[in-house]
């Protein structure tokens, strides 16, 4: 059964060092309170998977030294430009980068969702993305009359999927609406730790107005109610991003010292609040 926990920090305690952690893109449901809790608990050697891209979440975790590997189609702060701690880490060679392309991330997760060892996809052939991914294979399309190489992407099984959703019920059902990548991420992963704006009464998986956008509790390891748990990002259909804060982050994170001060102000002292 889905555990109902009291805080993002309680969820973070269940995400082990070295875990392969799937994160949604900035325009989806980012669990930033849980990101901060992971930093506070001193998480190490995380393998982040951006589904299919990732931004602030990854940058903060990288800056705080929690990350060994980033696997994604892009790391970007959108209109704020390059992610400073990611860029610094790549230049310094302190994280391993597994560049991908969006549908390869989706295809790997869908293979995991289907219990298949791999998915095949068009594209990629002739790119340096493929050339630098020996874990992907080019095979022959067995249905083609002539030579027809196609890329096989192995099942991508996250140890943990984490995101911040608008609501859950006490049975562990989590409403994600049209942010369906969060459902695939939960299906594909071994565990899902989800913060929500609100834990509500009733059964979201059976109420007609929510059922089609709800992840059943079967796939949800634990939830915690965390108000504004996406901050400083927004939650689609809810509040918007805190653009002033993100702008300040980008300024401070240009230097290691500035980033350390940001962590001190925004993350390390925030335990009581989350």
């Amino acid at each position: 059964m889905t555990e109902v926990l009291g805080s993002a920090d309680a969820l973070a305690a269940r995400i082990p060092d070295g875990a392969k952690v799937a994160l949604p893109p900035d325009y989806s449901f980012c669990a930033n309170a849980l990101v901060r809790a992971l930093i506070r608990r001193g998480a190490k050697d995380l393998h982040l998977v951006g589904v299919p891209a990732v931004g602030y979440q990854a940058d903060v975790l990288i800056g705080a030294g929690c990350v060994a590997t980033v696997e994604t189609a892009a790391v970007t702060l959108g209109e704020f430009g390059l992610a400073p701690r990611f860029t610094a880490a790549i230049k310094a060679g302190t994280i391993r980068m597994l560049d991908a392309t969006c549908p390869a991330i989706h295809g790997g997760l869908q293979a995991a969702e289907r219990g298949a060892p791999f998915s095949v996809m068009r594209g990629l052939i002739g790119s340096d993305i493929l050339a630098r991914r020996p874990d992907w294979k080019v095979i022959d399309n067995p249905f083609a009359d002539a030579e027809d190489p196609i890329v096989a992407i192995p099942a991508l099984v996250p140890d943990v999927t984490m995101f911040h959703a608008p609501k859950a019920d006490r049975l562990g059902n989590v409403f994600i609406g049209v942010r369906r990548e969060c459902m695939v991420m939960a299906h594909a992963a071994k565990a899902a730790f989800i913060t929500v704006e609100e834990i509500v009464d009733g059964d979201l998986a059976h109420a007609p107005e929510t059922a089609s956008g709800t992840i059943p509790g079967l796939y949800v390891s634990a939830i915690a109610e965390v108000k504004e748990g996406a901050w400083p990002q927004g939650i689609p259909g809810g509040y918007g991003p805190d653009l002033a804060h993100i702008g300040r982050y980008v300024e401070m994170a240009r230097s290691e010292a500035g980033f350390a001060q940001y962590l001190q102000e925004t993350v390390l002292g925030a335990e009581a609040a989350e």
Binding site: S28, G78, F86, I90, G123, L130, R132, C182, V184
Partner: protein, 248 residues
């Protein structure tokens, strides 16, 4: 906003000219000029052209999550898409990843996004790059996010159609894997393009025309409904170029 036709308006009109008659144009995140061109095409088609703008609430009808754009393209339901690149080379290879050795790069960019798929499957990919210099338009990219052309035998219904920059428009010939200078934007010259372009390209017979400005009707659409729609998606662009603040 002055009464003079602005560069952005020329770009919007020129791109829309490459989209007319298409059924569905998709626009990636953070692409205000291509987005405006797609919205202009839709306005000129009386809604017959569908437009999907990633990151927009109003102009994005997808309901199947982040994968739907790529599924939709794979199904052949997207007729045109836009890509850029920190570097673009003469074979239309694009680089969205890094400069120098990718393991210890001199510069690192966000990453390839969906380019290594969309570039292969969308029939009409328009390359868009506002910084036209020998540093961005290079002989050979340092990292191929997606190649401009593929070997025979590689399934590739899609690919580059044109490259538009702040200085000019190039068309692309897939069979020869080469660009041709199609037109030069007002205020720029053929000689300047030669100086500022790091790759070889062809010149058309009979001289290079000037890129046409949008006609009066299109200009009115750009400055009217298109600018209003743009303000929801790209408020700072709409404010800067059209002096429009985001609608409540």
């Amino acid at each position: 906003m002055s009464d003079q036709v602005q560069l952005e308006e020329i770009l919007i009109g020129s791109i829309a000219g490459m989209l007319d008659g298409l059924g569905h144009v998709a626009v990636g995140a953070s692409s205000p000029v291509p987005g405006a061109a797609a919205l202009l095409t839709r306005a000129r088609s009386n809604g017959a052209t569908r437009v999907s703008v990633l990151g927009s609430e109003n102009h994005n009808f997808f309901t199947d999550g982040a994968k739907e754009l790529f599924d939709c393209a794979g199904q052949g339901r997207i007729d045109a898409f836009f890509l850029g690149g920190a570097q673009i080379d003469g074979k239309a290879n694009i680089n969205l990843v890094s400069i120098g050795d990718p393991d210890r790069p001199k510069a690192r960019f966000p990453g390839s996004f969906g380019s290594a798929y969309m570039y292969y499957v969308v029939p009409r990919v328009i390359l868009f790059r506002l910084e036209h210099t020998p540093r961005t338009l290079v002989e050979a990219v340092d990292y191929i996010s997606a190649p401009g052309v593929s070997e025979p035998g590689v399934h590739r219904p899609g690919g580059p159609h044109a490259l538009i920059t702040d200085r000019c428009l190039f068309s692309f010939d897939k069979s020869r894997a080469r660009f041709t200078l199609a037109s030069v934007h007002p205020g720029h010259t053929v000689e300047e393009i030669a100086e500022q372009t790091g790759f070889d390209y062809d010149l058309p017979e009979g001289g290079v025309p000037e890129t046409a400005a949008p006609d009066a009707e299109s200009l009115a659409l750009i400055r009217g409904p298109v600018a209003q729609q743009l303000a929801e998606i790209y408020p700072s662009f709409a404010s800067r170029v059209f002096g429009i603040d985001k609608a409540a």
